[in-house]
Symmetry: D2
Subunit: 470 residues, 4 copies
Amino acid sequence: MTVLISGGTVVNATGASPADVIVEGERIAAVLAPDSELAAAARRGDARVIDARDRYVVPGGVDVHVHLQLPMTPESTSSDTFASGTVAAAWGGTTTVIDFVGQARGRRVRDALEERFAEAEGQCAVDYGFHLSMGGVDADSLAELAALVDEGITSLKLFMAYPGVWYSDDGEILRAMQRAADLGVLVMMHAENGLAIDVLRDQAAASGRTAPVWHGRTRPALLEGEAVHRAAALAAVAGAPLYIVHLSAAEALAEVVAARDAGRNVFAETCPQYLYLSLEEQLDRPGLAGARHICSPPLRSRHEGHQDSLWRGLRTDDLSVVSTDHCPFCDKDKALGLDDFRRVPNGLGTIEHRMDLLHQGVVAGELSVSRWVDVCSTTPARLFGLAGKKGVIAPGADADIVVYDPTAEHTLGADAHHMQVDNSAWEGVTVTGRAETVLSRGEVVVEAGRFRGRAGHGRFLRRSLCEPLR
Amino acid sequence: MTVLISGGTVVNATGASPADVIVEGERIAAVLAPDSELAAAARRGDARVIDARDRYVVPGGVDVHVHLQLPMTPESTSSDTFASGTVAAAWGGTTTVIDFVGQARGRRVRDALEERFAEAEGQCAVDYGFHLSMGGVDADSLAELAALVDEGITSLKLFMAYPGVWYSDDGEILRAMQRAADLGVLVMMHAENGLAIDVLRDQAAASGRTAPVWHGRTRPALLEGEAVHRAAALAAVAGAPLYIVHLSAAEALAEVVAARDAGRNVFAETCPQYLYLSLEEQLDRPGLAGARHICSPPLRSRHEGHQDSLWRGLRTDDLSVVSTDHCPFCDKDKALGLDDFRRVPNGLGTIEHRMDLLHQGVVAGELSVSRWVDVCSTTPARLFGLAGKKGVIAPGADADIVVYDPTAEHTLGADAHHMQVDNSAWEGVTVTGRAETVLSRGEVVVEAGRFRGRAGHGRFLRRSLCEPLR
Amino acid sequence: MTVLISGGTVVNATGASPADVIVEGERIAAVLAPDSELAAAARRGDARVIDARDRYVVPGGVDVHVHLQLPMTPESTSSDTFASGTVAAAWGGTTTVIDFVGQARGRRVRDALEERFAEAEGQCAVDYGFHLSMGGVDADSLAELAALVDEGITSLKLFMAYPGVWYSDDGEILRAMQRAADLGVLVMMHAENGLAIDVLRDQAAASGRTAPVWHGRTRPALLEGEAVHRAAALAAVAGAPLYIVHLSAAEALAEVVAARDAGRNVFAETCPQYLYLSLEEQLDRPGLAGARHICSPPLRSRHEGHQDSLWRGLRTDDLSVVSTDHCPFCDKDKALGLDDFRRVPNGLGTIEHRMDLLHQGVVAGELSVSRWVDVCSTTPARLFGLAGKKGVIAPGADADIVVYDPTAEHTLGADAHHMQVDNSAWEGVTVTGRAETVLSRGEVVVEAGRFRGRAGHGRFLRRSLCEPLR
Amino acid sequence: MTVLISGGTVVNATGASPADVIVEGERIAAVLAPDSELAAAARRGDARVIDARDRYVVPGGVDVHVHLQLPMTPESTSSDTFASGTVAAAWGGTTTVIDFVGQARGRRVRDALEERFAEAEGQCAVDYGFHLSMGGVDADSLAELAALVDEGITSLKLFMAYPGVWYSDDGEILRAMQRAADLGVLVMMHAENGLAIDVLRDQAAASGRTAPVWHGRTRPALLEGEAVHRAAALAAVAGAPLYIVHLSAAEALAEVVAARDAGRNVFAETCPQYLYLSLEEQLDRPGLAGARHICSPPLRSRHEGHQDSLWRGLRTDDLSVVSTDHCPFCDKDKALGLDDFRRVPNGLGTIEHRMDLLHQGVVAGELSVSRWVDVCSTTPARLFGLAGKKGVIAPGADADIVVYDPTAEHTLGADAHHMQVDNSAWEGVTVTGRAETVLSRGEVVVEAGRFRGRAGHGRFLRRSLCEPLR
């Protein structure tokens, strides 16, 4: 079937202009000047027409950092499933998500992979991919990397935090980076100095400082900056490109800036929570109200200016991507740590709100509409091997398209959202702008306030290697 | 008439992919997936077909810094006319040039404008625009700026060099920047400390150091860095965006990087001569051989690493644009200063070679093909008020299109080029890649090794205001 | 006559320890361990004994930036004479002052010199020297420099502010720096971009912003930073050492730090007013209350953190000296500009309070007692050609010695001070510490709350060249 | 007995001037102006007179980083004993050495301490102290620190290299730093990323790259810079001052500079080998010739400019101290690793040559004579709790005095030196300047080319806490 999206303003990362879009089957067949003969002919044809007047026509969002049905602790699993989470993503205009295969230390990569594939198979409403989280860097797991590249898993996440669980030491990191550099695999890094942080956490707990805010106070921004600097140095020694996940602190951004100024392939993402929320306003609330805002890295102090720095980083392109680190927990799980912040499962749910939240930056004049599309869709697609396929409105690309109403107002919260979690880090926040119609590979999945997609429509994405951003 | 450019790889600033392009009249009507029904239908239609197999299909080049028929001294005028220079541009795949209206101190802006318009009228083979070079900042000239914006002259060049001719002092610069900020006009700056440089020049000449290389040795890189820093500070005080022209030195780039890291709207261009040529290899030759390479800022020392720094700046996007500062002089003019480097007219001719020379960066792996298009076409168009119209292959844009053969080899030199000058700064340089077919607003102007355009096809461009790059 | 200063703690720039000091005539003859046989013998001798128990014994202060009886405008002259100002200095423990010979543009250096020598001759209570302020850089004035070095005037002040009066353009500055570099003369710089500032000042006045605070708001910190950067670049080209006077802003300090990190001979002084007072608290007061705090550079915003930066600069040794820029005006003069901040004569009186005000940094733990001596006495003496003679308690040095009571409290103000001015920028400030006994070249000039010196005791100091601080 | 050192130039860290020095017993009793009555009287007295005309009279050197009789591997112990090493030190004008008590992981601090005290007891020719090297950070060892402070061991060395032997992880480092901050103990850091380096070492060896130069190529400068950055971050979190030992690389220096510019208490030493020798010239020699120059960090590439950076750091005071890291091994030990660089015991012998080698910087004009004394004696004494006692020529200080002939030439080498090692890293190097007469606590230990001291004269130094350098 052919679809004609007509009358809208097509927004890509380098500009916005009036254009009509023709979809044939799963892909975009053409982009047309609205006053051309071809467009006139198309309007006279038998295509299904979607009216996009006064709307942006933007590539579907690409959220490269989500954790669906992730067993975080023996008691607690992130509450969105592949089914529920991808539906929520679609509602928010996100049509690609990349989750993680987690290889815990001592486990075989292949086993972890097969289990995770089985969990997602047939469940997803939009397309999905996987990174590999490696908790046990050894000869066997590194040897497995080449096979993964063939299967379309072309990014490797390592951790400088969580000793005993996911943590790799600097020797292991270097060896994994060397292997990644050989294969062209992009190394993603959770950059916090976990060994030092654990000392501070245990000292705080031992002295009775157990409220949620101590989660933040025991993870100083300096120790995120330190880890970014170290990761960049190790990557330079290995000759590997590097991607810092969930960057939250001015000190960390400064290290990314320094590496980039030196011409190194260092990239970073931040998340909406680090742009909008703060230690003082959200994390430093008593009990559940604070615990709901526990994530790692923590919400940072507004007084220290981290949020302003991150907005500047988005404007200057030193922050390349905005992802969500979506990892929601219901109140029953969050409540497990009311006596000890260390026992609160870490994570917030934002998969549905990313496009809208970042659009507030457009409304406020911080970002152009093109830069909004760039950080939400285009650059994440390019960095993670989906260039040309996702993240652009261009002929030949997958027809993942959002007709976005930039003036619709709505209020976020647990009663209104489609994420499977009984709380919201964004409760009561009113935003301007909304995904009105959403196509995933040519199929309309959200339209007129109704979800019209289905579990299983989403396919696993065999991703190519990272496109170097020269 | 309709043209179908078929089978090529369309390259824009954010990616390259196989696509067909349909031109209706002067503009691009559609970009099509080659395997779509629409493309099949187009091929069956009656469009004129240009075969672009194994070719890039790229937006025509945008050279925002050229000096055609510029009277440099009482004796010497740059040798390319609007007619000859725009033909040479077209040969090289450049379909937009922006030259300057020069208001010398003591002259009325309006008079200068009318004279310059008359010189260009009916002469140009491709589209052209003008910046205003202001040599006399005063109440009258500043008052005239608003009218110029209405007429499509939306950029203002000031000089920190050439005292007594074009130089403005810091108070004048601040006032002009304040006015530009009010109007949204982009301030372009020749950033060299001319007062200090003139002391060094006169000292060199007085002590008999008159060979061409002293042109370089009396313009130290530190004094270009100084001027960039000062211009950025004044722009910050005025709240004006700033564009540094012909940046040549590592020290100058470092100041641009610092300003950009701080989130300021500071941009810079470099030119092919600063990327490839050097003080040691070209300027430090005796007699005419050196004099032909005299330009300002001068070719920089390779030993000090300026060229490497500039390439890094292109990769990191701290250099936004590559222009030519095209300003050729015949040997008879260059010979006027054989006894005194101060009397050599400053300038080289590169208008025809920019796209090819930068393509060598793609060949060498320094730049991606998308970044090549970005710095040669897309970003110059966006910064100078031509976004959406020039610099992109997109429906609705002007059909300024180059079918580029990335494998053709040819050798540059005075006998081979189409510029009207009897020497070449690039004599004997062999390059890979060549503009095969060139369209300017839908008309084929270069094809099969022949120029098919005409003087007067090129129109004056009424440019919009600078699109802020957020 | 022999004097024994016994029982105190001798403080030099690199340490403090109990020691006795013997003065023979005008110079220090010996420093003795208090428990040595020699000290015991000295106590048994016939020396006059000054009891320094519980006191610091420190070198007399060296204030290298004062303006006594300076005609600032046709109507206003700074109110302290050589006689009154040097008495006030002595009261405050300062035993060396360096004032300026001012060569206004168009005047002969020699004439200015002779006139200034005559004004000071026979008037001073403590030793004094002169810098040359050059307002007219030309062949004649530069030629005169060599003679001045022979006469002990080994430092040259230039101005980037005050166009038409003292301002030199960058070409003149470069030429003067080249000459200074040849001679070993230290170049002092008033670093503010005066051309740009004058635009802002006139715009403010034209729009009715005439209150004292506009003096500050029209001299932005960015334009002090700019000027420091430019001065450092010109000094690097000339190969000259550079000394920034009255540094007031974080941006300016950052430029000094960068130059020093690069290994350049760049030094800076700040003044007590920039360490303690602010735009919000003092300058932004109405009428005379604000006008009394007008000086250039202006008091800076505390909100922007300049004061904290300067204290850090003192700790890190990036600020080498604290001087006063002493230049007091009586209320009748300050009142001349109540309708227009531009007409207020610039300057504050601090010559008497410098040692005490900086001692508050010791009390607060910001500085060690050695660093206090270093920035107030030792380093200014070394930088200005008085090494070994002034600024140290060492055998052979001039016996300029202060017995300082670190616990005495007193309150500053017009009624209490000895400066000849009817107001005080420090009115009501209570400080801890006081010069109890002061010797100038072996003579007791202040003792037991009485001034015992005399006009004419102070001698003109023929200074050597700057000792490079390697 | 009284000694009069007469006619010389006394050099302290802040200046040099003619002065006579009187020693009573073990301490300096007085410093006298040579033309004073006191000096005349002293010359008439019965003191033993040392003629210092045309000589510098400088404080005895303080070498805060030496390894005497250190068992490096099961087979190899550093070849200088407390007896032989301190004699060599005295020959070279060094009168204070600080060695290490090494607590290997698993061992009790107290046991290590007692053993080391016993080894040194009665052996030393000059005064000596100890740092604690902690290889096992745990509750017991940290608890012991307070007692050590009482015993005069006020500095703690940690290692980021040598995993399994001395390495502490970041959590252990943070805990040790916190304890040190509480006690006022100075933390010394071996800053190289040992985990990453060991990966590179093993990879090199596995691929047959076993020559000495691979010792250098597997310890990249980036990984020293990384470790310094990390150590500074952890110290900032702990609130502890930090002292980087044997800094060798430009990248490491840049991190020290950044920390110091930010006002943090970060200090660093370098060693003569890093100032003068290089990877290309010394380490990249075959067999024993290269192995003799194996130390850690390694000699750095001259091509990369490390040596120039370090000299600049000494001039700018960003490097505070020059020590030796004296740790010589005889050829039989060095030969153990001729087939595998990893088995070569690390270390060079320089204890005798430090003052002379640095004096070459004075000869070359890189350092003033005062700065030479500062980095070799004054600042090491101040940083390590010996202020006022060592490192100054001042009344009350220990009479550790060197009469230094700045014009004597001699050539270094195994046949000429007094160190107990059969090779020399400095073989054939000719230097200008020599310690002529050396006093240790008032006793002449070197005189007229003969050693006149004795084992056991040197006493253990109970050091105070680090004097903060404000």
